[in-house]
Symmetry: C2
Subunit: 462 residues, 2 copies
């Protein structure tokens, strides 16, 4: 076999150890918060049937699904379907139809659709309200660019089977706790789809709710003027747009917004309901004295059209970055799989963006870089036996420790310790072993002192 220059598919990543310990720091903290609130883990397979995935993410989404070639002789499926059997040449078949004959499975695109499928499929094994979290990779055949990958992790947490707004409150508490642990200051933006529906009614365009939310969702990116243009091309009247603009851009305190909306919603039951819901959620949050700010943001829309109530988005307070977390309430996610009337609410943390913020603000604690606490230097065959026994005792106490596997030059062994950020090395040569006193060197201060094996264990346990 001739040697080949190794590479990986574009948009995918390897994670080297220094990246992994940082990523795990994020995942571990998120997981601890999820667990302390009584959420339980599930996992679903990387591959789903394409029938489960197709049509759930819009036409664009269907194109971005990674599809898996059927195993065995998939070509017989093509022949049986009549492709390539015509006389006089072969016309290019229609892509989607052709694909259907050679690919039945695809990689999951997000964790939401698999979760809905899971809830329906396992409904009799689950305890409702079902509080689950799921931390797994997803795949999208998007054009790779800075900060956008074809394989990335989502950390989703949802409650399904309960209408109570306490669930919204709990999820926002989770957001607060996660970002306190990670030491990132954030702002939690809140809105409610029923308020947006009420506004659509009030400006005389109730049937345009989806177009309005999709357009508003871009307000941050493309600005007010372009959003107005887009709305007019979508068939919203000039009058409606003129009524909408001041509502979306209204500044001021919550009380003022509420009064404005109260007036606007005199004839909209949906709008009133939305306003009640957000008021209740915000009152609870106020009582809980969260450390991070939360605010009612009328311009928050979130593009996904399965949301029906509260919507949530989290931004870093100190750096400019897309949202670090987002979600909302959905009333009928499981309906497409045959289980109607299951209201749920959930949020998703974006591990990659959180990583980038923590890098930029240098928030990763230095201690996580030292994965090994102690290196025993190797002086040769005679000393190895002692070293191995010492190691066994340390490891039993979960002290991460190593012996250098060869009796190489001391300089090389020390360099290994330095490059691996190991804070302590121990010299255990014949003299030290017979005296029962090893020499412990602190790699940062350079200080050396004699210690017994028990003292060594105590120092490293700290």
């Amino acid at each position: 076999m001739s040697s080949q220059k190794p590479s990986i598919p574009k948009g995918t990543r390897d994670f080297i150890p220094t990246e992994m310990v940082r990523r795990n720091f994020i995942f571990d903290n998120i997981r601890k918060v999820f667990q302390s609130s009584g959420y339980v883990p599930i996992e679903t397979p990387a591959m789903e049937n394409l029938s489960t995935l197709m049509g759930k993410y819009g036409e664009e989404g269907d194109k971005l699904l990674f599809k898996i070639l059927n195993s065995g002789n998939y070509l017989s499926g093509i022949r049986d379907a009549g492709y390539g059997m015509r006389d006089g040449g072969w016309e290019m078949p229609e892509l989607n139809t052709y694909t259907r004959h050679i690919a039945e499975k695809g990689l999951r695109y997000d964790l939401t659709v698999p979760f809905a499928r899971f809830v329906v499929q396992h409904q009799h094994e689950l305890v409702f309200p079902f509080k689950r979290y799921q931390i797994q990779p997803v795949w999208r055949a998007d054009r790779p660019q800075k900060g956008r990958y074809r394989e990335f992790f989502q950390c989703d947490v949802d409650v399904i089977g309960s209408n109570s707004l306490l669930n919204e409150v709990e999820l926002i508490q989770i957001i607060d706790s996660v970002f306190i642990r990670l030491d990132i200051k954030v702002v939690v933006k809140l809105n409610n789809r029923k308020i947006l529906a009420g506004i659509a009614e009030a400006i005389g365009a109730p049937e345009k709710l989806t177009d309005i939310t999709v357009a508003i969702d871009k307000l941050d990116k493309i600005g007010l003027e372009k959003v107005s243009e887009e709305l007019e091309t979508k068939g919203l009247s000039g009058d409606s747009v003129r009524l909408l603009v001041p509502i979306m851009t209204m500044e001021g305190r919550i009380q003022e917004k509420r009064e404005m909306l109260d007036n606007l919603f005199v004839n909209s039951e949906t709008g009133k309901k939305g306003l009640e819901e957000i008021s209740e959620v915000m009152l609870h949050l106020k009582n809980l004295e969260l450390q991070n700010k939360f605010e009612f943001d009328l311009s928050l829309a979130r593009g996904l059209n399965y949301y029906t109530g509260t919507i949530i988005e989290v931004k870093a307070a100190e750096v400019t970055m897309g949202s670090l977390c987002g979600g909302g309430r959905y009333d009928n996610l499981t309906g497409i799989f045959g289980l109607p009337d299951m209201s749920g609410v959930g949020i998703s943390f974006g591990a990659d963006r959180i990583y980038d913020v923590m890098e930029e603000l240098r928030l990763f604690p230095e201690s996580i870089e030292s994965t090994t606490k102690l290196l025993i230097l190797n002086f040769g065959k005679d000393e190895e036996k002692y070293g191995l026994q010492l190691l066994a005792a340390l490891r039993k106490s979960e002290i991460s420790s190593e012996i250098y596997p060869e009796a190489s030059k001391l300089k090389k062994q020390m360099e290994y310790a330095n490059r691996k950020n190991i804070p302590f090395v121990v010299f255990a040569g014949q003299n030290e072993i017979s005296a029962g006193k090893l020499t412990l060197k602190d790699m940062r201060s350079g200080e050396q002192k004699p210690v017994t094996p028990d003292e060594l264990k105590n120092i490293l346990s700290k």
Copy 2:
């Protein structure tokens, strides 16, 4: 959209929470042992270029790779290659050639080849000897059957860049520690490929080493007679087979085996080297007083042909089950990617089989089933506010706790606690709240007692 009955691709699995906590119990214990021995984590993408994967697992393996359809209009690749353009009908193209035009990526088949690719690609970022672990799913388009899945997890741990036999010793210690933690009694079987090579020389068939190892590897499954037949069909002479059989089936103590081999290897340097290696490893192991048994097993071969030294396989001592862990030393794994002379040694734990053994022997601790420690019963809006504040305090101390999200009938709330294995519920109604004494109920004993919030926290912290 009409509703569809949900399902997942055959050979794949969902994991419900009770399965997840058990799987995590296994993974967490394995991970702790890896970390305490100074191994650091890496991850590689699910998709690799097919050029990285093809040809590494034999012809059969190539067929079992899941291949991913190129995104965009992959059909133009087919047309450009001239397929389907002939007059007078379309002949079935050759499958592999056709596939090459429509699929460039595949799902990883194991963690070993991606690891070799990773080491070569990142060699300048890594510290050698490089001690890494990797716990990720792999995919194989195998025929699904009991205990065999198309998506399953591997837990690999390897040292690369060191010839020292201390690495072998460390890995066997890791095996011992993992199975002590999981409370599974195992037998660690050891052999050395150099010994097998020495035997092949001694019976006059040095060029048949691969056939011999492949055949011997099946000894457990198909028995001695069939193995002998297979060897003869592979071209081994009757004399050679007759010499081989008593060696492979020799019972007795290590010392006797060693003497027999010493005689056999008078003219085989390779055989002598193998015998030296295994003796050194076993001497170290004896000094370390492992809790699990280890034995020199001449019939251990392991099918993979990249092994060049020590080979290791672990069987459960108390149930009949395939191997729970296996591995060995390889001298040239990274050679195919352009980095020769990197010796390494590694083992892989099979999480699914370990799970099955633990289920069969009922080894999962009961405590892991109680993911939530406390449920606060919900008596209505007025009490919710108090409940939420109590929860915030408990969760800050990492006590996993919940409030039932609705003021449903008490029976329903209690049933939720029971079904979710929550060991304690607390009654916090108006009277309890104003008296500062909540009623705590132990769901197992049925016992109830009044507690202050501080007492509650102390009880649950235990």
